[in-house]
Protein backbone atom coordinates (compact mmCIF):
# COMPACT_ATOMS: atom_id res chain seq x y z
CA UNK A 1 0.00 0.00 0.00
CA UNK A 2 1.27 3.42 -0.84
CA UNK A 3 1.67 6.02 1.76
CA UNK A 4 -1.50 7.90 0.89
CA UNK A 5 -3.65 7.28 3.92
CA UNK A 6 -4.83 10.80 4.35
CA UNK A 7 -7.81 13.00 3.58
CA UNK A 8 -6.94 16.49 2.43
CA UNK A 9 -9.56 19.05 3.40
CA UNK A 10 -9.49 22.34 1.51
CA UNK A 11 -11.65 24.66 3.56
CA UNK A 12 -11.22 28.33 4.43
CA UNK A 13 -13.51 28.28 7.45
CA UNK A 14 -11.76 27.11 10.62
CA UNK A 15 -15.14 26.46 12.22
CA UNK A 16 -16.26 24.18 9.40
CA UNK A 17 -12.94 22.35 9.45
CA UNK A 18 -13.16 21.84 13.18
CA UNK A 19 -16.71 20.57 12.90
CA UNK A 20 -15.74 18.08 10.23
CA UNK A 21 -12.77 16.96 12.30
CA UNK A 22 -15.13 16.33 15.23
CA UNK A 23 -17.55 14.49 12.95
CA UNK A 24 -14.71 12.26 11.73
CA UNK A 25 -13.85 11.52 15.33
CA UNK A 26 -17.42 10.67 16.29
CA UNK A 27 -17.72 8.52 13.15
CA UNK A 28 -14.53 6.73 14.31
CA UNK A 29 -12.70 7.40 11.08
CA UNK A 30 -9.09 6.50 11.68
CA UNK A 31 -7.61 8.03 8.56
CA UNK A 32 -6.01 11.39 9.34
CA UNK A 33 -7.45 14.64 8.08
CA UNK A 34 -5.07 17.33 6.89
CA UNK A 35 -6.48 20.81 6.56
CA UNK A 36 -5.36 23.55 4.19
CA UNK A 37 -7.13 26.88 4.14
CA UNK A 38 -6.91 28.06 0.56
CA UNK A 39 -6.71 26.88 -3.01
CA UNK A 40 -3.13 28.00 -3.37
CA UNK A 41 -2.21 26.12 -0.21
CA UNK A 42 -3.90 23.00 -1.61
CA UNK A 43 -1.80 23.32 -4.74
CA UNK A 44 1.35 23.75 -2.64
CA UNK A 45 0.48 20.67 -0.64
CA UNK A 46 -0.22 18.51 -3.69
CA UNK A 47 2.82 19.82 -5.53
CA UNK A 48 5.01 19.21 -2.51
CA UNK A 49 6.31 22.74 -2.08
CA UNK A 50 8.70 23.43 0.78
CA UNK A 51 7.81 21.47 3.90
CA UNK A 52 5.05 19.66 2.01
CA UNK A 53 7.81 17.93 0.05
CA UNK A 54 8.29 15.62 2.99
CA UNK A 55 5.82 12.95 2.01
CA UNK A 56 6.28 11.00 5.20
CA UNK A 57 4.82 13.91 7.12
CA UNK A 58 2.58 15.18 4.29
CA UNK A 59 1.56 12.15 2.23
CA UNK A 60 -0.42 12.59 -0.96
CA UNK A 61 -4.06 12.18 -0.01
CA UNK A 62 -6.34 9.30 -0.84
CA UNK A 63 -9.15 11.77 -1.44
CA UNK A 64 -9.54 15.55 -1.48
CA UNK A 65 -12.53 17.26 0.12
CA UNK A 66 -12.87 20.56 -1.63
CA UNK A 67 -14.88 23.60 -0.65
CA UNK A 68 -15.85 25.83 -3.57
CA UNK A 69 -15.84 29.31 -2.12
CA UNK A 70 -12.19 29.90 -1.31
CA UNK A 71 -10.14 33.08 -1.35
CA UNK A 72 -7.52 33.75 -4.05
CA UNK A 73 -7.97 30.52 -5.97
CA UNK A 74 -11.44 29.04 -5.71
CA UNK A 75 -12.50 25.41 -5.73
CA UNK A 76 -13.20 25.36 -9.48
CA UNK A 77 -9.67 26.61 -10.16
CA UNK A 78 -8.20 24.01 -7.82
CA UNK A 79 -10.16 21.31 -9.66
CA UNK A 80 -8.92 22.58 -13.01
CA UNK A 81 -5.34 22.59 -11.78
CA UNK A 82 -5.57 19.08 -10.29
CA UNK A 83 -6.96 17.61 -13.50
CA UNK A 84 -4.13 19.17 -15.49
CA UNK A 85 -1.53 17.25 -13.49
CA UNK A 86 -0.76 13.85 -15.00
CA UNK A 87 -0.09 12.32 -11.58
CA UNK A 88 -3.33 13.65 -10.11
CA UNK A 89 -5.78 13.07 -12.92
CA UNK A 90 -7.38 10.13 -11.12
CA UNK A 91 -7.18 11.52 -7.59
CA UNK A 92 -10.74 11.48 -6.23
CA UNK A 93 -11.87 15.04 -5.57
CA UNK A 94 -15.12 15.42 -3.69
CA UNK A 95 -16.72 18.81 -3.55
CA UNK A 96 -18.03 19.57 -0.08
CA UNK A 97 -19.94 22.79 0.00
CA UNK A 98 -22.70 24.54 1.85
CA UNK A 99 -24.08 26.19 -1.23
CA UNK A 100 -25.16 24.37 -4.36
CA UNK A 101 -26.53 25.97 -7.48
CA UNK A 102 -27.50 24.06 -10.61
CA UNK A 103 -24.74 25.76 -12.56
CA UNK A 104 -22.20 25.14 -9.82
CA UNK A 105 -22.98 21.42 -9.76
CA UNK A 106 -22.70 21.10 -13.54
CA UNK A 107 -19.50 23.13 -13.61
CA UNK A 108 -17.86 21.11 -10.85
CA UNK A 109 -18.67 17.85 -12.61
CA UNK A 110 -17.50 19.23 -15.94
CA UNK A 111 -14.17 20.19 -14.40
CA UNK A 112 -13.72 16.66 -13.12
CA UNK A 113 -15.16 16.51 -9.61
CA UNK A 114 -15.86 12.91 -8.66
CA UNK A 115 -18.76 13.75 -6.45
CA UNK A 116 -20.63 16.75 -5.09
CA UNK A 117 -21.71 16.70 -1.46
CA UNK A 118 -23.66 19.14 0.64
CA UNK A 119 -22.22 19.88 4.03
CA UNK A 120 -24.84 20.27 6.65
CA UNK A 121 -24.74 22.76 9.48
CA UNK A 122 -26.33 20.04 11.58
CA UNK A 123 -23.67 18.05 13.40
CA UNK A 124 -25.54 14.72 13.37
CA UNK A 125 -25.97 15.03 9.61
CA UNK A 126 -22.29 15.73 9.26
CA UNK A 127 -21.48 12.56 11.19
CA UNK A 128 -23.75 10.53 8.89
CA UNK A 129 -22.10 12.14 5.91
CA UNK A 130 -18.63 11.38 7.27
CA UNK A 131 -19.54 7.74 7.81
CA UNK A 132 -20.92 7.47 4.29
CA UNK A 133 -17.81 9.16 2.92
CA UNK A 134 -15.51 6.75 4.74
CA UNK A 135 -17.51 3.72 3.65
CA UNK A 136 -17.75 4.81 0.06
CA UNK A 137 -14.35 6.36 -0.61
CA UNK A 138 -11.97 5.17 2.06
CA UNK A 139 -12.88 1.61 2.88
CA UNK A 140 -12.96 0.47 -0.71
CA UNK A 141 -10.02 -1.11 -2.43
CA UNK A 142 -11.10 0.09 -5.83
CA UNK A 143 -9.80 3.62 -5.65
CA UNK A 144 -6.98 4.63 -7.92
CA UNK A 145 -5.00 5.43 -4.77
CA UNK A 146 -4.46 1.73 -4.34
CA UNK A 147 -2.78 1.61 -7.70
CA UNK A 148 0.44 3.07 -8.92
CA UNK A 149 0.15 6.75 -9.58
CA UNK A 150 2.98 8.29 -11.51
CA UNK A 151 5.47 10.28 -9.48
CA UNK A 152 4.36 13.82 -9.19
CA UNK A 153 6.67 15.85 -11.36
CA UNK A 154 4.79 18.58 -13.14
CA UNK A 155 5.79 21.94 -11.81
CA UNK A 156 3.10 24.53 -11.50
CA UNK A 157 4.31 27.57 -13.40
CA UNK A 158 3.73 30.60 -11.22
CA UNK A 159 2.95 32.75 -14.25
CA UNK A 160 -0.10 30.57 -14.91
CA UNK A 161 -1.39 31.03 -11.42
CA UNK A 162 -4.80 32.55 -11.69
CA UNK A 163 -5.69 34.93 -8.97
CA UNK A 164 -9.36 35.55 -8.49
Amino acid sequence: MENRELVLLVEDSDDDALMLRRAFKVAAIAIPLAHVKSGTQAVSYLRGDGDYGNRTVHPLPKIVLLDLGLPEMDGYEVLTWIREQPGLRTLPVIVLTGLATGDGIVRAYQLGANSFLMKSADFEQLVTLSKALAEYWLETKATPAAGKVEPFKTPYPPDQRRVA
Partner: protein
Protein backbone atom coordinates in the same frame (compact mmCIF):
# COMPACT_ATOMS: atom_id res chain seq x y z
CA UNK B 1 -41.94 14.80 -12.80
CA UNK B 2 -40.36 12.93 -9.93
CA UNK B 3 -38.18 14.91 -7.57
CA UNK B 4 -35.70 12.10 -7.74
CA UNK B 5 -33.38 11.86 -10.67
CA UNK B 6 -33.50 8.87 -12.96
CA UNK B 7 -30.75 6.32 -12.54
CA UNK B 8 -29.69 4.74 -15.81
CA UNK B 9 -28.36 1.22 -15.30
CA UNK B 10 -26.15 -0.06 -18.12
CA UNK B 11 -25.85 -3.80 -17.62
CA UNK B 12 -26.09 -6.76 -19.97
CA UNK B 13 -26.51 -9.62 -17.49
CA UNK B 14 -30.11 -10.32 -16.49
CA UNK B 15 -28.97 -11.78 -13.14
CA UNK B 16 -27.19 -8.58 -12.25
CA UNK B 17 -30.10 -6.42 -13.38
CA UNK B 18 -32.38 -8.41 -11.12
CA UNK B 19 -29.90 -8.09 -8.27
CA UNK B 20 -29.68 -4.31 -8.66
CA UNK B 21 -33.47 -4.02 -8.81
CA UNK B 22 -33.83 -6.14 -5.67
CA UNK B 23 -31.22 -4.11 -3.83
CA UNK B 24 -32.82 -0.79 -4.79
CA UNK B 25 -36.18 -2.11 -3.62
CA UNK B 26 -34.72 -3.34 -0.37
CA UNK B 27 -33.18 0.02 0.49
CA UNK B 28 -36.35 1.76 -0.79
CA UNK B 29 -34.51 3.96 -3.23
CA UNK B 30 -37.16 6.35 -4.54
CA UNK B 31 -35.37 7.09 -7.80
CA UNK B 32 -36.85 5.72 -10.99
CA UNK B 33 -34.56 3.22 -12.75
CA UNK B 34 -34.11 2.77 -16.46
CA UNK B 35 -32.23 -0.23 -17.82
CA UNK B 36 -30.23 -0.52 -21.00
CA UNK B 37 -28.25 -3.57 -22.03
CA UNK B 38 -24.98 -2.26 -23.42
CA UNK B 39 -22.98 0.88 -24.15
CA UNK B 40 -24.56 1.40 -27.54
CA UNK B 41 -28.03 1.24 -26.04
CA UNK B 42 -26.93 3.75 -23.41
CA UNK B 43 -25.77 6.09 -26.19
CA UNK B 44 -29.11 5.67 -27.97
CA UNK B 45 -30.92 6.31 -24.72
CA UNK B 46 -29.06 9.55 -24.02
CA UNK B 47 -29.48 10.76 -27.58
CA UNK B 48 -33.15 9.82 -27.50
CA UNK B 49 -32.92 7.67 -30.58
CA UNK B 50 -35.28 4.96 -31.75
CA UNK B 51 -37.23 3.36 -28.95
CA UNK B 52 -35.90 5.99 -26.52
CA UNK B 53 -37.24 9.01 -28.38
CA UNK B 54 -40.02 9.68 -25.88
CA UNK B 55 -38.45 11.73 -23.09
CA UNK B 56 -41.47 11.31 -20.83
CA UNK B 57 -41.00 7.58 -20.85
CA UNK B 58 -37.23 7.72 -20.98
CA UNK B 59 -36.13 10.84 -19.09
CA UNK B 60 -32.49 11.82 -19.08
CA UNK B 61 -30.71 10.41 -16.04
CA UNK B 62 -28.91 12.26 -13.30
CA UNK B 63 -26.72 9.27 -12.49
CA UNK B 64 -25.42 6.37 -14.57
CA UNK B 65 -24.41 2.98 -13.20
CA UNK B 66 -22.12 1.33 -15.71
CA UNK B 67 -20.96 -2.24 -16.12
CA UNK B 68 -17.65 -2.69 -17.93
CA UNK B 69 -17.86 -5.94 -19.84
CA UNK B 70 -20.67 -5.69 -22.33
CA UNK B 71 -21.23 -6.61 -25.99
CA UNK B 72 -21.19 -4.09 -28.87
CA UNK B 73 -19.88 -1.14 -26.86
CA UNK B 74 -18.26 -1.85 -23.51
CA UNK B 75 -18.10 0.39 -20.45
CA UNK B 76 -14.72 1.91 -21.32
CA UNK B 77 -15.90 2.84 -24.81
CA UNK B 78 -19.04 4.35 -23.35
CA UNK B 79 -16.95 6.45 -20.94
CA UNK B 80 -14.85 7.73 -23.82
CA UNK B 81 -18.01 8.63 -25.71
CA UNK B 82 -19.88 10.36 -22.91
CA UNK B 83 -16.91 12.49 -21.82
CA UNK B 84 -16.75 13.95 -25.33
CA UNK B 85 -20.39 15.02 -25.37
CA UNK B 86 -20.95 18.63 -24.38
CA UNK B 87 -24.48 17.82 -23.34
CA UNK B 88 -23.63 14.83 -21.18
CA UNK B 89 -20.02 15.00 -20.08
CA UNK B 90 -20.98 16.37 -16.68
CA UNK B 91 -23.18 13.38 -15.86
CA UNK B 92 -21.80 11.31 -12.99
CA UNK B 93 -20.93 7.77 -14.07
CA UNK B 94 -20.38 5.14 -11.40
CA UNK B 95 -18.74 1.97 -12.62
CA UNK B 96 -20.34 -1.07 -11.01
CA UNK B 97 -18.56 -4.22 -12.02
CA UNK B 98 -17.35 -7.59 -10.81
CA UNK B 99 -13.80 -6.76 -11.83
CA UNK B 100 -11.54 -5.41 -9.15
CA UNK B 101 -8.44 -5.43 -11.30
CA UNK B 102 -6.40 -2.33 -10.68
CA UNK B 103 -5.82 -1.98 -14.39
CA UNK B 104 -9.58 -1.61 -14.87
CA UNK B 105 -9.92 0.73 -11.90
CA UNK B 106 -7.21 3.04 -13.16
CA UNK B 107 -8.42 2.91 -16.76
CA UNK B 108 -11.99 3.72 -15.75
CA UNK B 109 -10.92 6.70 -13.62
CA UNK B 110 -8.61 7.90 -16.34
CA UNK B 111 -11.45 7.81 -18.86
CA UNK B 112 -13.58 9.91 -16.55
CA UNK B 113 -15.53 7.56 -14.30
CA UNK B 114 -16.65 9.36 -11.15
CA UNK B 115 -16.35 6.31 -8.99
CA UNK B 116 -15.60 2.61 -9.22
CA UNK B 117 -17.55 0.05 -7.22
CA UNK B 118 -16.93 -3.68 -7.10
CA UNK B 119 -20.03 -5.87 -6.95
CA UNK B 120 -19.75 -8.12 -3.94
CA UNK B 121 -20.87 -11.72 -4.39
CA UNK B 122 -22.80 -11.69 -1.16
CA UNK B 123 -26.27 -10.11 -1.34
CA UNK B 124 -26.10 -8.56 2.13
CA UNK B 125 -22.85 -6.87 1.19
CA UNK B 126 -24.43 -5.73 -2.04
CA UNK B 127 -27.20 -4.13 0.00
CA UNK B 128 -24.56 -2.36 2.06
CA UNK B 129 -22.91 -1.08 -1.08
CA UNK B 130 -26.22 0.22 -2.39
CA UNK B 131 -26.88 1.95 0.91
CA UNK B 132 -23.64 3.85 0.77
CA UNK B 133 -24.31 4.58 -2.90
CA UNK B 134 -27.62 6.08 -1.84
CA UNK B 135 -25.96 8.12 0.93
CA UNK B 136 -23.30 9.53 -1.34
CA UNK B 137 -25.28 10.16 -4.51
CA UNK B 138 -28.82 10.76 -3.33
CA UNK B 139 -28.98 11.76 0.32
CA UNK B 140 -25.93 13.98 0.76
CA UNK B 141 -24.95 14.25 -2.86
CA UNK B 142 -26.07 16.57 -5.59
CA UNK B 143 -26.22 15.39 -9.16
CA UNK B 144 -26.72 17.61 -12.16
CA UNK B 145 -30.23 18.19 -13.33
CA UNK B 146 -29.80 16.34 -16.58
CA UNK B 147 -32.86 17.95 -18.07
CA UNK B 148 -31.26 21.34 -18.13
CA UNK B 149 -28.78 21.13 -20.98
CA UNK B 150 -31.19 19.02 -22.98
CA UNK B 151 -34.16 21.26 -22.38
CA UNK B 152 -32.76 23.89 -24.65
CA UNK B 153 -32.68 21.43 -27.49
CA UNK B 154 -36.15 20.15 -26.74
CA UNK B 155 -37.49 23.67 -26.39
CA UNK B 156 -36.03 24.56 -29.75
CA UNK B 157 -37.65 21.54 -31.30
CA UNK B 158 -40.98 22.46 -29.80
CA UNK B 159 -40.78 26.04 -31.05
Amino acid sequence: MSDFGVILVVEDREDDILLIKRAFKKITLPNPIQIVRDGQEAVDYLLGEGEFSNRDEHPLPSLILLDLKMPRMDGFEFLVWIRKQDEFRHLPVVVLTSSSELRDVNAAYRLGANSFLVKPHDFEQFIGLNKSLQQIWIKHGRTPDAMRPARTKQAQQQV
